[in-house]
């Protein structure tokens, strides 16, 4: 599952800590050529037979032109098998989603869109430093739904400074009236170094209380489930089966290939005769990355072979984020010798957590309960220790 990264934005939002750059002019042709080259190189290295999904992230991918998207998709199709029905997602900003633009992307091969709405309130949008108004966001979603019916997703944030429970309830309702069949709902995280975090730390803005955040999350889950959404991952909801194939591949610890500056990947280099899953990161800074791609065919800054333990740790941490959790089969794919039951079934931390009502271990596999999902990060350290001992 290739994940090409478009590392540019028109402006940095107040809460963003991603590897993105705001520059006056972008040499699109050069970047396109490098994305294409790197995609080909890495796909060859991985010897992947067929690809299940492609995800254009960044930055603001909707700032790229459709022909760049087309070129990358062509490169993928050339290097491996890209089935007709494979999910091809593009992340889009409401301020770069005119009908013609989105249609252009569709023509290039995109069949799913994720719109960064974040909020349907203008004051909140200003605090977040977003480029668009609520009205523009609404329009963008409508346009997208027209072009990608049943395959449009929206991103929303909650837990903003000064946001009350009531205000959040209103946002949810508004979102429900607007949305398609997939919503990603993220609690705002104040990352160190961002402008928003600085404002909160300096006292200009209040930090929301832990209890309020917990309430907002519970409200959201309940409301969305009542509206027929399936809460299939900590922050992701889908109805009518509109789950994101690509994101599922992260949480099931499938293989994915990061292409572009700062992209992350997890795959095996069968092309070099290897059979170990590696954790890889591409060079962060676009200019440096491009130079490396031109010279060596790819700009991989770091590659680390993951031990079996590390792979299982990732599978555990990510799999438990989903409602299905980790099935016995999936676990067995990585660890045929040591089953889920063997690790977590006997006396130990998992047993205790089950008794307390946070976890379930049965024929379906290992997963969190409804309550457990909300406090997963309090459960994981114990489970990791149990895994390490086994």
């Amino acid at each position: 599952a290739p994940c090409p990264q478009w590392p540019y934005c028109r402006k940095r939002c107040s809460y963003c800590s991603f590897n993105t750059y705001v520059v006056p002019a972008v040499n699109e042709a050069a970047l396109r050529a490098c994305l294409v080259r790197e995609a080909q190189t890495l796909l060859h290295l991985s010897q992947v037979h067929s690809v299940t999904s492609v995800f254009f992230g960044g930055g603001t991918p909707s700032l790229a032109s459709p022909c760049t998207v087309a070129a990358v998709l062509e490169a993928v199709a050339g290097a491996t098998h890209l089935p007709a029905g494979a999910e091809v997602t593009l992340e889009a900003n409401p301020s770069s989603t005119s009908t013609s633009r989105l249609a252009g992307f569709r023509a290039a091969g995109v069949n799913r869109v994720s719109i960064g709405v974040q909020s349907l309130d203008d004051t909140e949008l200003r605090m977040l430093g977003r480029e668009h108004t609520a009205a523009e966001a609404r329009k963008a979603v409508e346009v997208a739904r027209g072009l990608f019916p049943g395959r449009t997703s929206i991103d929303l944030l909650f837990g903003l400074p000064r946001q009350s429970q009531d205000a959040w309830a209103k946002r949810l309702e508004a979102a429900l009236r607007l949305c398609d069949d997939h919503i990603s709902l993220y609690q705002l995280t104040l990352e160190q170094g961002t402008a928003l975090a600085g404002q909160v730390r300096g006292g200009a803005l209040p930090a929301p209380s832990q209890d309020l955040l917990a309430d907002m999350y519970q409200t959201a889950r309940t409301v969305l489930v009542a509206a027929s959404f399936r809460h299939y991952e900590v922050s992701n909801f889908a109805r009518k089966g509109a789950l994101s194939t690509h994101n599922l591949s992260y949480w099931q610890a499938d293989q994915y290939i990061g292409v572009g500056p700062g992209a992350h990947g997890r795959f095996m280099l069968r092309g070099e005769g290897g059979c170990s899953r590696e954790a890889r990161v591409q060079t962060l800074e676009p200019v440096a990355w491009m130079q490396e791609v031109q010279k060596h065919g790819h700009g991989t800054r770091s590659r680390v072979v993951l031990s079996l333990l590390e792979q299982l740790e990732e599978l555990l941490t990510l799999g438990l984020r989903t409602d299905e959790g980790i099935t016995h089969e999936r676990w067995g794919h990585f660890s045929p010798q040591l089953s889920l039951q063997a690790v977590f079934g006997e006396q130990g931390e998992a047993r205790v957590l089950q008794q307390e009502g946070w976890l379930v271990l049965d024929s379906g596999g290992l997963r969190c309960t409804w309550a457990g999902l909300a406090v997963l990060d309090s459960l994981l350290p114990d489970l990791l220790r149990q895994l390490q001992r086994a």
């Binding site: 992230g57 999350y217 994101n247 114990d382």
Partner: protein, 615 residues
């Protein structure tokens, strides 16, 4: 190095003096200027606090150890030997100041032209006055914008009864009128009254430890003479030494053939520890004992703290750092101590908070050691009434250091706590606040009397544990530094002591149990609970933090459970970061202490027990 001949300076040409002042009024700057004018050091811009040799002194701008310097100055055709003895300005070191003064016949009293007379100005003035020294008032910093020398001169006249025309107005920084001060020293301060024909009598007014040469004692000769090869005896320790070297300080060591009566300098005599050359001690020639100089006393600690290494593996390193640091500071008292939570450590006594802070800073800077400072323990006692326990201990009265050893009320006929007689001298405007402070510390007033029209002396019987942590600072704070405090051991008294337990969800935390007086239990318990609430991380269930005496709960805080704790986004790039963090947390859990089902990080106890240094 060629040795100087000190015999060319007869007693009449000698002046021994000190500079005294309140903190930051310009003592050390004036000393710098005097050294420059007399050619002792060359005049450059870099002469700042020349006599402050310790790093911590130079950084903090304070003098911690007294140094001396011998200056040579020609005035009206005569070569004079002027011995300047620099003194610590801070109240914690008043004993050192008094010993330095006893080697002088006069002082320069420096007062800031803007700030005027302050607490230490008064305290030091009284020390000099009581020692019957000539006092030369000097008003400094006249170059600054807000200077008002006239006002200060009037203050001096009113408080110290010194005529205004005797004051010299100077700027030590710029050098204005500093030469006049030197001339006044020669004119007004009498030469020492002593005779080289008398038997040797030398006062030790400071000592330092040098790794190659041993203890270097700063001495002032009150009679006789001293030279290499002579055998001398310490009046305090009664030990005998042979003199290896004598000399003067300019301000570095300059050996001389001899030192004569009335002169000030240093001596090296094979002493290995500074405790062998204590401040205030008298040295005399073997087989020629003399009446020891009055005023000697061992250092009296005022502030105590427990000191522990951050980790028990550092114990030996800290032990040797402490040994070496106390080599040069005989006023720190050291006793071994231990705590359930923190392991093996020490109970240290300091002359004051500044002394403790400077000590701690030197530990960090010179020995690279970080330590944990806690509230200390005092030795309580219990008179046993249970036959079983009496048999077990082998006696009917035991000393309790550790709360775990605290015997139950039923087995005890009486608990005892150590007490001290405290004497407070204060200007009368602070009496009310001080009385309140003492009452708050369970002290009982024994006497109160006016020693002059402005100052009052209060005598109280204090439980020792009420003054060991911060009584001294509180006293200084509410009297703007003017009140002084001294105390002596007063035995034990009966006390209503209890053992206070700290519980987490009903389970006791051994490390935090304390022995405390019943009246103080609630306040202390509440504070501990509040601090714990801030240091224990939230968990999946509610945690009740309680302080209890036996079964009775006397304070409580509640730590609510987590209802949401899961990171919002976990895709691509986030995953590696997430794994690192989670694995660190998993590792951290391994080091956690589990009390019942509550997970407590190791450093939580440390943070709760730590002494508050943010004053």
């Amino acid at each position: 190095q060629e040795k100087l001949d000190m015999s060319t300076y007869p007693v009449e040409s000698i002046r021994n003096f000190s500079i005294i002042a309140h903190v930051d009024h310009g003592k050390s700057t004036l000393a710098d200027r005097l050294l420059e004018i007399t050619g002792t050091i060359s005049k450059t811009d870099r002469n700042k606090q020349v006599l402050d040799k310790l790093q911590v002194e130079r950084e903090r701008g304070i003098t911690v150890k007294a140094q001396s310097a011998s200056l040579f100055y020609n005035h009206e055709g005569i070569n004079y030997l002027l011995n300047l003895i620099d003194t610590p300005g801070h109240v914690d070191f008043s004993y050192e100041v008094s010993r330095s003064l006893s080697a002088c016949q006069g002082v320069i009293l420096v007062v800031d032209a803007n700030e005027g007379i302050q607490a230490q100005t008064v305290a030091n003035f009284y020390l000099a006055f009581e020692a019957q020294l000539s006092i030369i008032p000097v008003i400094n910093k006249i170059d600054l914008k807000n200077a008002d020398p006239e006002r200060v001169e009037k203050q001096i006249e009113k408080l110290f009864d010194i005529p205004t025309d005797e004051c010299i107005r100077i700027s030590a920084k710029q050098g204005t009128n500093v030469e006049k001060v030197l001339q006044k020293v020669i004119e007004k301060i009498p030469p020492p009254q002593c005779n080289t024909a008398d038997p040797l009598k030398a006062l030790v007014f400071d000592s330092t430890f040098d790794h190659y040469r041993g203890v270097i004692a700063n001495i002032a000769l009150f009679g006789g003479e001293i030279a290499k090869g002579q055998k001398i005896v310490s009046a305090h320790t009664k030990r005998r030494y042979e003199v290896n070297e004598v000399g003067i300080l300019t301000p570095n060591e300059q050996p001389t053939h001899k030192l004569y009566a009335g002169q000030v300098g240093y001596l090296i005599a094979g002493m290995k520890e500074v405790t062998e050359a204590q401040i205030g001690d008298t040295l005399f020639l073997y087989k020629q004992p003399v009446e020891p100089l009055p005023g000697f006393k061992s250092a009296k600690p005022m502030v105590f703290a427990g000191m522990y290494p951050i980790d028990q593996t550092e114990y030996n390193n800290l032990k040797s750092a402490l040994e070496r640091l106390t080599l040069n500071d005989s006023s720190v008292t050291v006793h071994r101590d231990s705590s359930l939570a923190l392991g093996a450590g020490w109970r240290l006594g300091f002359l004051g908070l500044l002394h403790m802070e400077v000590f701690n800073q030197r530990l960090e800077q010179e020995y690279n050691m970080s330590v944990i400072l806690t509230a200390p323990t005092v030795p309580y006692k219990a008179v046993l009434s249970s036959a079983k326990l009496i048999k077990e201990y082998g006696k009917d009265q035991i000393t309790i250091i550790n709360p775990a050893q605290f015997p139950d009320k039923l087995s005890v006929s009486e608990y005892l706590e150590p007490t001290v007689f405290g004497t407070i001298v204060t200007p009368h405007e602070y009496i009310g606040k001080i009385i309140t402070l003492c009452q708050d510390r369970r002290a009982v007033q024994k006497d109160m009397l006016y020693i002059d029209e402005n100052r009052v002396m209060l005598k109280y019987l204090f439980p020792l544990n009420e003054i060991v942590v911060d009584f001294y600072d509180a006293l200084k704070s509410l009297s703007s530094g003017y009140a002084s405090f001294d105390y002596e051991d007063a035995g034990y008294q009966s006390a209503d002591l209890i053992k206070m337990d700290i519980l987490l969800n009903g389970n006791p935390v051994e490390e935090l149990a304390t022995i405390i007086h019943r009246d103080k239990a609630h306040a202390a318990g509440k504070l501990l609970c509040e601090r714990l609430k801030e240091t224990i991380p939230r968990q999946l269930f509610e945690i009740a933090i309680q302080a209890a005496i036996g079964k009775k709960i006397i304070a409580r805080e509640t730590l609510k459970a987590y209802r949401k704790n899961v990171v919002a986004k976990c895709y691509g790039g986030d995953i590696t970061r997430r794994m690192k963090l989670l694995k660190r947390q998993a590792e951290g859990k391994r080091l956690m202490r589990k009390i019942g089902n509550v997970e407590v990080p190791r450093d939580a106890f440390i943070r709760v027990l730590k002494r508050e240094t943010d004053k």
